[in-house]
Amino acid sequence: MELYFISLCLLVIGGIISIFVKENYKMKLCAVITGVSTILLTMLSVACLLSGESFGAQIHLPPIFESVDFIIDPLSAFFVLVISVLSFLGTIYACGYIKPYLNKGMNLSPHTFFLMLLIASMIGVVTVQNSIFFIVLWEIMSLSSFFLVIFEGHKKEVLNAGIKYLVYMHISMIFILSAFVVLNINSNSLNFSDFISVLSQNTKLANIVFLLAFIGFGTKAGFLPFHNWLPDAHPAAPSHVSGIMSGVMIKTGIYGILRTIWLIGAPSKFVAYLVICISVISALWGVLYAITQHNIKRLLAYHSLENIGIIGIGIGIGLLGMVYNNPIVALLGFGGGILHILNHAIFKPLLFFCAGNIYKQTHTKDVELLGGLIKKMPYTSLLFIIGSVAICGLPPFNGFISEILIYGGIVLGLVNANNITAFMTLIISLASLALIGTMAILCFTKVTGVMLLGNSRSEQAANVSFDVEKVMLIPIFILAVLAGLIGFFPQYAIIPVINPILEVTKNDTVLSFIPSMINLLGMLSLIFFVFLIIVLLVTGFRLIINRKSRIHNTWGCGYNRGNERMQYTASSYADLFVSTLKPMFKRIVHIKKPKELFPKEAYYEIKIEDLEEAYIVKPLIKLDEKLLSKFERIQNGNMQQYILFGLIFLILSIIGLFFIG
């Protein structure tokens, strides 16, 4: 446990030292320090995950708190592992990504400092067991990530996105805080371990606390009604920060939800159905809007929403299994959900980093302006394709493993369901998962097809002549290898997930089903190798019997002057689907039709706005402005009046004192 504190201190001190180091070495220093602390934390968390034992330590701060517990139990250890490894890869990647900014003479000190602080606070959040300290660390995490988002704060849209993020985080904070306040009043304690007894006695209280916590943590994770900061913050932040935020930081929200479930112990039906319902809607919403987006990072941000939804479906199925006392369903649901946390933390940073590579070389995030990059940036493109296959949940990569576990939970639940509500919920989740999968395929074939393949659609893409440097490729390569390894050896990848599941479900009968789950995954691994052999055989067959070929232009159905402007665009690729689902979007169309005999100017522009933003958030903001504008008169800059207000307040409070006294 000393290792834990050492690595936390290392991270914070490293952040402070990085302020005083020369600009060129700042990011490298961060990478080295994160590397060291990652090694320490990995050792600790792997030890915890394999043995299932918790490590703990107490800090004594006598006047205010008697003791503050820092405990690494399997659930925390899993998150510590994911956070530390991903942060390390992120900082390595940042060494390369940050170079152009260095050449512009930007001051990196705040960036490196807050990056280290973010990593340290994330690790702190998932281990601390005291509500006050949890809130403090949570706030440090939100604030430091806010400063990372506004890295390019001189741009107006970046600053706006940052402020939006900050506002959302503080709304989430209110809910988390009130959940803790409710618990604190009822248990007279600040420690998580004391909450358990209170929550297990009172189901009503447990439901209220869960609802508050779910809204609070769900805002961080990006569940539906509170997801709106995601698609703005991710494109604004630099790519390594988007990778870390999307891959890891939003998972602290999931950690919060899982921790609440752990505290509650035996959740009620309400909790299970709430989680499934919100998750299904979030996932569908995320992928639906992802299809309409043509800014690559915005699109990936919407996919975070989708994947958080899938994680939520897994957790929801697990909860349903717990509620109806069906341990195998609980096992598969939680197993799929928690494994998907790891998987998403692998392929989402992978995709964000690839998007960063492309942005670095072409200076655009607009998919429509790219194309033909596979020849110019072969490694980035290959890695991006691997990432896309993985995120679509297609075999033989890691996304499939977690999805089939969730599917397994649903299917076994269907077999054993004993009431119609559960049955229908399961069928709807089954169909939604299938729908999400195919929509993800639509979305990512669009992105890869338009962004990487075909001919270059603009000067920016055509002028790229080489791939990025190695330091930006190696972290992505490691992530891709991890994605493949988890896909091909799922029976080993599930091992770190088992102890966290046992922690959450607290059910011994679950244990007896673990061998059969590992057995199933072993079969999957075998099947994937058969598949690999078939692919190799077919490839070999093709190479042996015929390798003659000739080069020619693309067949244009008789037209020989095809050019890059005639290619299918991302909008047209998505149009059939988008126009089928018209009512789901708010389309803002700017159109100027060509007129007269010799038309001069014509354009057509479609912008798709999130329905939730258009019909819920914006009216709320308007209402807010309307109400608050009534109070504008008070703030008039007149000193005498301010003194009068102070006087009135004093008199009122004195009168109030009389009444109370």
Binding site: V389, F423, G556, G562, Q567, Y573
Partner: protein, 304 residues
């Protein structure tokens, strides 16, 4: 022994089914038609021809037909074959089946986008869009059958009759309709798509492979045949009852495959391809039959 027979049937039967479809169409058209095994000769000829690659394409374009063919072949191992059993019998086989096909579809879609053509993207867009309607319907259908039969591999298709009581034949009929529509979509047959012409803007799958030639086209054609055959095999699994002697099961299987091919040929001779707007309506029939099956199953389980 029977496994090898199954694999051989999986690899070579598709030529016969396509041959039968062509013969049927020739019959209704009053022609003599090509030889029954002409599809086999066509593929063999294509395998020998040299391939032409566009200057725009990359490795994705060359890799896509290989992946497409292998995934279809591999997915075939999960489908109940001649003797009513699949080569690989694993829990959740139907999920792996669909996801493996999805993997192949992913590559064939980006392979089409790789040519930078103005046509092939359109085909890819349509193919991707239609599968978003097909897959959920298929999963609702399979989910209902799983709940009905308490079995979660493809073997459950044979158990409907035992578990569904009075609704048995109704569910089987609806199931056959569901899978048959899926066959028409995934196998690119009329009235969704027309495999005999390329140059029509209403094309879906066929327009995606405009640029493929030689051995690549050979593999794609072969794969498309196998894919159609897989869905025919699923229908056969629905119809043939469990517990028949092996020789009878195999004969019934082959007979049903041939019969289905004749039906497909007859449909292709009697109606024209739908307009694109009507294709959606047609595909939604599949969702509706799947939902009716779900309703019946729910009533069967929770009705009393």
């Amino acid at each position: 022994m029977i496994t090898i027979l199954n694999i051989l049937i999986l690899i070579f039967m598709p030529f016969l089914t396509i041959g039968i479809i062509k013969k049927t169409k020739a019959f209704w058209g009053g022609r003599k038609g090509v030889k029954l095994l002409q599809p086999l000769y066509d593929v063999l000829r294509l395998l020998k021809k040299e391939a032409v690659y566009s200057t725009t394409t990359s490795w994705v374009f060359k890799f896509a037909p290989l992946v497409g063919f292998s995934t279809i072949l591999f997915a075939g191992l999960f489908v109940p074959m001649a003797n009513g059993e699949s080569v690989i019998n694993i829990p959740f086989g139907f999920i792996i089946f669909s996801y493996i096909l999805g993997f192949g579809k992913f590559f064939s879609l980006i392979g089409a986008m790789d040519t930078g053509s103005s046509f092939e993207g359109m085909g890819a867009s349509r193919e991707a869009c239609f599968s978003t309607i097909v897959e959920p319907a298929f999963f609702i259908f399979m989910g209902s059958i799983v709940a009905l039969t308490n079995n979660h591999s493809f073997a459950n298709l044979k158990m409907i009759l035992d578990n569904a009581g009075i609704y048995g034949y109704l569910i089987i009929t609806l199931a056959v309709i569901t899978i048959f529509i899926m066959l028409l979509i995934e196998g690119c047959r009329v009235p969704i798509d027309d495999p005999t012409t390329h140059l029509e803007l209403t094309m879906i799958h066929e327009v995606m492979i405009l640029d493929n030639s030689g051995i690549d086209l050979g593999l794609i054609t072969w794969g498309a045949g196998i894919k159609m055959f897989l869905f025919e095999a699923l229908i056969a699994a629905l119809i043939i009852p469990a517990g028949l002697p092996v020789w009878l099961a195999i004969t019934a299987f082959l007979a049903i495959i041939c019969l289905l091919s004749i039906i497909i040929g007859t449909i292709e001779s009697s109606i024209a391809r739908f307009r694109m707007t009507h294709v959606f309506e047609f595909i939604f029939i599949m969702s509706i039959t799947a939902l009716i099956i779900l309703t019946l199953v729910t009533y069967r389980i929770y009705g009393n």
